[in-house]
């Protein structure tokens, strides 16, 4: 499925209460990007640039004030929440359940969009949940309470939960932000594998330039609510672009051993 964002504008204060143009403030202005099927796109930009807002719009959680978001040509606004959740899943930055659910219960919640109003999970749903757990290497944690897991394990469980939705598109908000190096690599490898094996398109909002460089085939650079650049990683991830995006002087090199670009920040630009 191709996810397309076409000339989308959105503002938290731009609702019915904002009466004139002057008082409206948009978090995102005229954003247009295409997420082709099976791609792994990185969403980069400084804090407050609108990355999370864009992810929420793509997930259908927020509605754009201008423009439209379409899935294979269909406006997602016209698709019911439940149906949309069968195509698009989100891995949020943090998950804090109010109750002490087990890992399996958390993952089974991913089956919610596939169940009717009074339907309970059946054997197929449970099989899919277990499969998602094994795909993320967390099968051995199935009956553990979610809250007792380490940061990396929790993140993998949340990914498993999103996988259980059997989506075509996976949106991730800072998936490695609170993880140590080993877990970062683990999650990165997992996402790469899932993308290749299952053909799930992914959009990754991240601060980690090197993660984006290693994982993503294309990048979207967002600054102050507008798209700065959008294209293949090798083209977009340049010294000039990084300076424009972050006001940081950096060095971008191709690293032989790892096989992808690396970014080394040098100093803040004047």
């Amino acid at each position: 499925m191709t996810l397309q964002v076409a000339h989308v504008s959105f503002g938290y204060n731009a609702g019915y209460d904002a009466l004139d143009e002057a008082t409206r403030s948009f978090s995102l202005c005229d954003v247009s990007i295409t997420i082709p099927r099976g791609s792994l796109t990185g969403l980069l930009g400084p804090n407050g640039c609108g990355k999370t807002t864009l992810l929420k719009l793509m997930a259908g959680v927020l509605r754009p004030h201008e423009g439209a978001i379409t899935l294979d040509g269909r406006d997602i606004d016209g698709i019911s929440r439940r149906k949309l959740a069968r195509y698009i899943a989100v891995v949020p930055q943090e998950t804090h359940p109010g109750f002490d659910y087990s890992v399996l219960e958390m993952v089974l919640m991913g089956r919610h969009p596939h169940l009717g109003a009074f339907q309970l999970e059946g054997p197929e749903d449970i099989a899919i949940a277990h499969e998602s757990l094994s795909a993320t290497g967390t099968s051995h944690l199935a009956s553990r309470p979610y809250m007792t897991l380490s940061g990396g394990e929790k993140q993998r469980v949340v990914i498993a939960s999103a996988l259980a939705q059997a989506p075509d598109v996976l949106l991730l908000d800072e998936p490695t932000a609170s993880l140590d190096l080993a877990y970062q690599m683990e999650v990165a490898a997992l996402l790469d594998r899932l993308n290749r094996d299952r053909g799930v398109s992914m959009v990754l909002a991240t601060h980690d330039l090197n993660l984006a460089a290693s994982l993503c085939d294309s990048l979207v650079l967002v600054r102050s609510g507008r798209v700065l650049a959008h294209g293949p990683t090798r083209e977009v991830l340049s010294v000039a672009m990084i300076q424009q995006l972050y006001d940081v002087e950096a060095d971008v090199q191709f690293h032989e051993a790892s096989g992808h670009l690396t970014v080394v920040p040098i100093r803040r630009a004047q």
Binding site: I88, P97, H112, L120, P145
Partner: protein
Amino acid sequence: MSAGPRPIRTRLAVTLLAYGAVALAACLLAPLVGSTSISLSRAFDRSIPFADNVDAQIFFIARLPRVLAGAIVGAAFASAGVVLQALLRNPLATPFTLGVSAGSALGAILAISFGSALALGPLLPVPLASLAGAFMSAAIVYAMATRPGRPISTSVLLLAGVTLNSFFSALILLVQYMSDFAEAYRTVRWLMGDLDVGGFGPILGALPLIVVAFVIFARLSSSLNVLSVGADTAATRGVDVARTQRLAFVSAALATSAAVSLAGPIGFVGIVVPHLVRLMTGVDHRIVLPASALFGAAFLVACDLVARTVLAPVEVPVGVVTAMLGGPFFLWLLIRRG
């Protein structure tokens, strides 16, 4: 604490059967016990005219409606507690957290103190005023916390409820201060809860509201797990968050209002029962909600049984019994954690 490997369909069926049996047993056994000893065979003896049959009158007028009221009110408070806990993502929320009970108390107390002259046909002024007060405070909280089309902010909801609770409690104190002794004492007594309805009429009055609330609960049940993980997560799992939150609030307020108008604000049922049930069945709301309703019914019927027999012929208010069980229960929970 974790969900066993058994599939939920089995677990739900087993839970409903087990808790249903407990609730049924409580409702069948409770009318047999009371502060007076009666002869059951005489009570059911059709040959004696009802108006002359003391045993029958005690069983059918005094005890049976009381047990039924206890079951319905207990189920209402317990399940409203579960729904609000899921909505507020906090197992310490109670049906009274969002101001509904304070509003209903204010309504009842105004009726007790100033409404003696009111006669509205078959409708009793105190339950009616209590219902009106509950609806009013729920409406105020709802208006304060919701914006059209947007999800409800649970922190605003909580704050609105706490504000209303404080404000109405202050008004209640003022009204009590201005009433005479008898009225002030009666309002204090009303606040302690009373299931002795003396007939099926009051129950039939509250029943439609509670039934509607239960229907909505059933509909919401499958979304509560997902909702309790977080509003945004719920939205991406296919839950219409704004609508689900509103339905949760309205249905919980409806059940609570009806229950309070029938029996007064009986505390602790809405928090002790869900906690106990979670200890026994795990935290899946699809099981906790119906199990809490059934266990809540049995729990309140049992508490009322204690209330009306332990110091006979003097009755302990049922709210006092639930409080005396609730306090130590939470102390025990705390000690267990530590």
